[in-house]
């Protein structure tokens, strides 16, 4: 029996783990549920066919598609659904070429298997805004191969040339004779055929689904409480654990006294694990009370003096010395010496927490002969390896089940597999299934963060206000140096994530120099929706606005003139400006600002319209957003991600700050790490550039431009330049 057979299909289009099914899964644990289907593509990894326990009952031509006798098409999703719409776009790729009946298409999370590896990363992972474009060919071919086999099996049945048949909406048709066969009726015959190796794909002009607004497959189950996130997983006999962690980064456990914790009714175990002390109980609440009662002595370690104010000075001091050279065009020194005018400024952005609505969690069930792990993860391969290591089992004995992710933003994919590592250690020690839960305070205070960053600029202008030289020195911690991904994220000692958005500056400036200082390590840092672009766009686009004003130029006109050889960037600037009514006066008390940035192969320009409230706070009323991401799989998904990225970036711009005192994070929960709410959300108008250019990303790309667009609008309104995030209200009104 295959894993899928123990799951139910919800009202919507996603095969969802239900509570009852989880029980069944557990009962079957150790029974070899890993699905086995061969992928006929050489780039897919494992080529050998493994036996499907369903036998011929389901047509499974490759690892990504199954057709059931009732006509249901199941797409196996190898990228995680964290809100960005991956499940729907992956299913669209398959369904388009399969000529599937969209109302019969379902999605199921892939198990861990090399066949599902990301084509760029060589492991199963979701991140970098590349789900759709990285699978653009592979998944369409998976669908096309299935269609070809279904058509061939119908032609065999009817004893006609398959070239005289065609597929449409879940059926094979033979127009000459008027015969038709639903896919479900062809399942057995198609299963006996050999998958094709030459798989032609449709001309995009013939697309029936791709490029048109398509409702998400996971929406129904996300409106009735049925969608199962990691935190919703429950297995029989499961305990709940909370972890007491060192209050200061780099701290270590000295000793603990479990007596008071164990005195709390419902607390079962207290044990030291790698990373802290786990309090294991019958449920969340006793675990939380137990953790509060637990007495722990910590060694604060070498970072106990970390302090945001002092760190700020360190970064400013570092920025006064030369850094590692990340880009060096022409000779900025010479150009600056001959400039009619020079301009300098320093921009600063803080550490940020991801604060997904669903805090980190993981369920692990380690047994003598096997282990199951349930988690909403962005890094299946590494989490699986982590579980294998901690469980002391063979890779094939460990199964990782991907649930829905209650937000990700990068936090659920990291090399330490933090939540899996904790859950597997505890389950093995207590010999029972366990769910490890992060509270919101754990999430905010013991997280991994978007690095704090400082950008110091010096530019030279000619007499007409034209840009001659651009020097940018960046100070921030490295995300990737020392990680397994360093091979492709670190070049010549420079973490590319620290300088992205800067080394690839789109503006045509003859002399450009970008340097980087690696700030001292200490605070755990990691990828955060749009990574380096999240701070470089704020710095560059705000400073460019300063350059425009210093040179007496309109911010839109200056950008257009500097983007002569960057047509896609120029295109979105023009489109956003036109749609926003740039040049026409805004309503009284309001002002507009613009920013443009390229992130992960897509160009986004945003015009923000702002005012100052009676309370003296900035208010963003409207954002006009132009995006060029190349061909679009689902325009409604693009619009959703523009709205999403703008709210996410605006939250950071207006509120986001993780600060440190005595080596500890100051913030605790949403009262002091606030999120934008519905009464503060701007109206977002998205305009998609029709394009046949290379496809880019969508999930992260709307985040970078919003902070500078708003800051530039506030400058236009108040004359006050914002060089530090979050935007502080003082002095704005």
């Amino acid at each position: 029996m295959r894993e899928s057979a123990t799951r139910t299909t919800g009202e919507g289009g996603v095969v969802n783990l239900s509570r009852r099914d989880l029980l069944k899964l557990t009962a079957l644990a150790g029974g070899g549920l890993i699905l086995g289907v061969a992928l006929p593509f050489p780039d897919g990894g494992r080529a050998e066919a493994r036996e499907s326990r369903i036998g011929g009952a389901v047509f499974a031509p490759n690892a990504f598609v199954r057709v059931a006798p009732d006509g249901t098409v199941t797409v196996i999703a190898n990228h995680s659904e964290m809100g960005q719409g991956a499940y729907t776009s992956l299913a669209l790729l398959v369904a388009e070429e399969l000529e599937a009946d969209w109302s019969r298409v379902r999605v199921e999370a892939a198990p861990v298997d090399p066949v599902y590896n990301h084509l760029l990363y060589g492991m199963q992972a979701t991140g970098g805004s590349n789900t759709t474009w990285s699978e653009w060919e592979r998944l369409r071919k998976a669908g096309a191969a299935a269609r070809m086999m279904l058509v061939a099996s119908a032609a065999d049945l009817w004893k006609v040339d398959s070239a005289t048949c065609r597929a449409e909406n879940g059926e094979v048709l033979h127009p000459a004779s008027g015969r038709r066969a639903a896919y479900g009726t062809l399942v057995e015959a198609a299963s006996r055929l050999t998958p094709p190796t030459d798989i032609p794909l449709k001309d995009p002009k013939d697309f029936r689904l791709l490029g048109k607004p398509t409702p998400r497959l996971d929406t129904p189950d996300k409106t009735n409480g049925k969608a199962i996130f990691g935190l919703d997983v429950s297995v029989p006999g499961m305990k709940v654990a909370l972890i007491a962690r060192p209050p200061a980064f780099g701290g270590k456990l000295k000793s603990f006294d479990a007596a008071k914790a164990k005195a709390i009714p419902g607390v079962r175990d207290v044990l030291a694990i790698d990373g802290g002390v786990a309090v294991v109980a019958e449920g969340f609440w006793p675990a939380k009370l137990g953790r509060e009662a637990l007495e722990v002595v910590w060694d604060d370690g070498p970072l106990a003096a970390l302090d945001s104010a002092r760190q700020r000075q360190e970064y400013l001091d570092l920025a006064r010395t030369p850094g590692a050279i990340a880009r060096n065009d022409g000779n900025t020194g010479k150009a600056l010496a001959s400039a009619a005018k020079t301009l300098e400024a320093v921009y600063e952005t803080p550490y940020l927490a991801h604060a997904m609505m669903e805090p980190l969690n993981c369920v692990a069930d380690v047994r003598a002969d096997g282990c199951d792990v349930w988690t909403g993860t962005q890094f299946q391969t590494l989490d699986h390896l982590s579980a294998v290591r901690d469980a002391g089992l063979k890779p094939e004995q460990v199964r990782l089940h991907t649930t829905f992710l209650g937000g990700g933003f990068g936090r659920r994919g990291w090399f330490d597999s933090e939540s899996v590592h904790a859950a597997v250690q505890i389950s093995k020690a207590i010999q029972a299934p366990v769910k490890v839960v992060w509270t919101r305070e754990d999430d905010i205070r013991s997280g991994h963060y978007r690095p704090r960053a400082l950008h110091a600029f010096k530019v030279g202008l000619d007499a007409a206000g034209g840009l001659l030289a651009w020097e940018q020195r960046i100070v921030c911690q490295s995300i990737f140096i020392g990680t397994p991904a360093a091979g492709f994220t670190v070049k010549d000692g420079i973490d590319q994530s620290a300088v992205e958005g800067a080394v690839d500056l789109s503006y045509g400036v003859p002399n450009v120099r970008v340097e980087w200082h690696q700030a001292p390590d200490g605070v755990p840092v990691m990828i955060w929706r749009s990574v380096g672009h999240s701070h470089s766009a704020f710095a560059i686009e705000s400073f460019l606005d300063e350059v425009a004003h210093a040179g007496g130029k309109d911010p839109v006109e200056l950008r257009k003139s500097l983007l002569q050889s960057a047509p896609r960037a120029r295109g979105v600037v023009e489109l956003a400006a036109e749609k926003a009514g740039w040049g026409k006066p805004p309503a009284p008390g309001r002002a507009r600002g613009i920013a443009v940035h390229e992130t992960y192969g897509s160009w986004v320009a945003q015009v923000a319209e702002v005012s100052i409230t009676k309370a003296g706070r900035p208010r963003v009323h409207r954002v006009v957003c132009a995006v060029d991401c190349g061909p679009v799989a689902n325009p409604d998904g693009v619009r959703a991600q523009m709205q999403s990225g703008i709210v996410f970036g605006l939250t950071a711009a207006l509120y986001g700050e993780i600060s440190l005192a005595n080596g500890r994070v100051v913030q605790r929960n949403f009262h002091d790490y606030p999120m934008l709410r519905i009464n503060e959300a701007p109206v977002v108008e998205t305009h998609i550039v029709p394009s046949v250019a290379k496809m880019g990303g969508i999930g992260e790309v709307a985040v970078p431009p919003i902070a500078p667009a708003v800051a530039n609008a506030l400058f236009a309104l108040t004359g006050k330049r914002i060089r530090r995030l979050p935007i502080r209200a003082e002095g704005l009104s």
Binding site: P359, S644, V684
Partner: protein, 155 residues
Amino acid sequence: MTKLKVNGTERSVDVPPGTPLLWVIRESLGLTGTKFGCGMALCGACTVHLDGEAVRSCVTPLSRAAGRDVTTIEGLAPDVGGPLRQAWIAEDVPQCGYCQSGQIMSAAILLRESAKPTDEDIDDAMSGNICRCGTYERIRRAIHVAAASRAEGKQ
């Protein structure tokens, strides 16, 4: 043992009376549509109805719910729940979806109190519910759509 009625069914649970209702619903009763987001009544993901009023179940002790009616997303009555869900689907509101149970439970109270809510009503009623994916514009639209469809249904 504490007795309470959940989604119309009498239930009794054997957990300390100080336990937040959220964990009773999720862990003792297995209704996982109600979510944990903050534990401090700051995000609204845990919103349920207690005797017909929206409460944050993460800070509501079980003792307060004893003998009373609790409604969760799973048991939301079709007169309000139906139009809301239909509107949520029509506007394709959810992204990660984690906060949406709480959003719908808050919206249900709003629609009961205000047949045709204004944008300002929506701000007032919904600003206690955080959506980290930023689906606010679609939530607003969906509430207007649900209100309109209820109005049509009553004519």
